[in-house]
Amino acid sequence: MIEDDDLDRVLSTREAPAPSDGFAASVMSAVAREAEGPLPLSFPWRRIALGLVAFALGIGVQVIAGPPADATAPAFRWLDIGTLLAGVDRVGLQRAWWIALALLVTCVIARLASWFAGRQLLRGPIAGRW
């Protein structure tokens, strides 16, 4: 059976090939391409934030106002301020809290996913001059 010393000798004295002559130049070409390439697309937080706020407001208004009392009434009536104030009840607030919590959790998950992806992939090339 092969001994520990034999293993040590074989594995520690393996002769590795030297890099080929053009290796450093090839790496620097790749690095230059990396530096000159387009910046990685970042997540469009600003644009999506507007949409999220509008969406949250719309959901909030509907929850607080509740459905129209009279199904035959014109749709715009349940959005007027009087109806809104009258519709603020305990159940409505409870719904609003759940929706707000869901939105918050969604934002946190999206942010974490973006953060992990950023750690694993590109952190953005270092701008350099060549």
């Binding site: 059976m1 092969i2 034999d6 074989v10 290796f23 790749a30």
Partner: protein, 186 residues
């Protein structure tokens, strides 16, 4: 290898002089290709893997915290790239059984040292990834457990345990090999 030269080049790159990265590449191309070759056993692939390691290093240069030596950080980045790559595409489809139980024992017993070395290297490639990585880095770093642990970003105790288990598996796979015939020099 000069730590001061590494630091100076890193500062230049971070200041916007990307061409200063060439100094880092020229100083470390040998060790990085060597380490990649120990993982894959193929020169062309080793150079591809080393190039990817240098690219990853370049991208994340700003994340190097100066509390560790640049070389330690560089090997950790390269090790991460190599382990990922080797797990994605293993070096070659060697059958575990083919290495563990040779069909013709006499041919192995009579194998010369070169053949023995090849069989040992081949057996390393058949180890499960966690043991293979520990063994490759341990011997690459001159049998230094601390350095291997630094490259793998693992506690030394974990690396020692994996080394012990990996060596035991290797010996089991290579049980048909007779001890090396030492020459006069020992």
């Amino acid at each position: 290898m000069s730590a001061a030269e590494d630091l100076a080049d890193v500062e230049k790159v971070l200041a916007g002089d990307g061409s200063a990265f060439e100094g880092i590449v020229r100083r470390w191309q040998g060790p990085l290709v060597h380490l990649a070759w120990r993982f894959c056993g193929d020169r062309a692939r080793a150079e591809d893997m080393a190039q990817e390691a240098f690219l990853r290093t370049y991208r994340s240069l700003s994340t190097w915290r100066r509390d560790a030596a640049f070389s330690t950080w560089l090997f950790a980045v390269a090790t991460n790239v190599y382990c990922t790559e080797i797990r994605r595409i293993p070096p070659r489809p060697v059958s575990l059984d083919a290495v563990a139980e040779p069909t013709d024992v006499r041919s192995v017993d009579g194998a010369d040292d070169e053949e023995r070395d090849r069989l040992v290297a081949q057996a390393v490639q058949t180890l499960p990834a966690r043991y293979r990585e520990a063994i490759v880095l341990y011997y690459f770093h001159g049998m230094n457990v601390a350095a291997a642990a630094g490259s793998l970003r693992l506690p030394e105790g974990t690396v020692k345990a994996r080394l012990s288990r990996g060596r035991a598996m290797l010996k089991r796979k290579l049980q048909h090999l007779s001890p090396r015939r030492h020459g006069g020099a020992g």
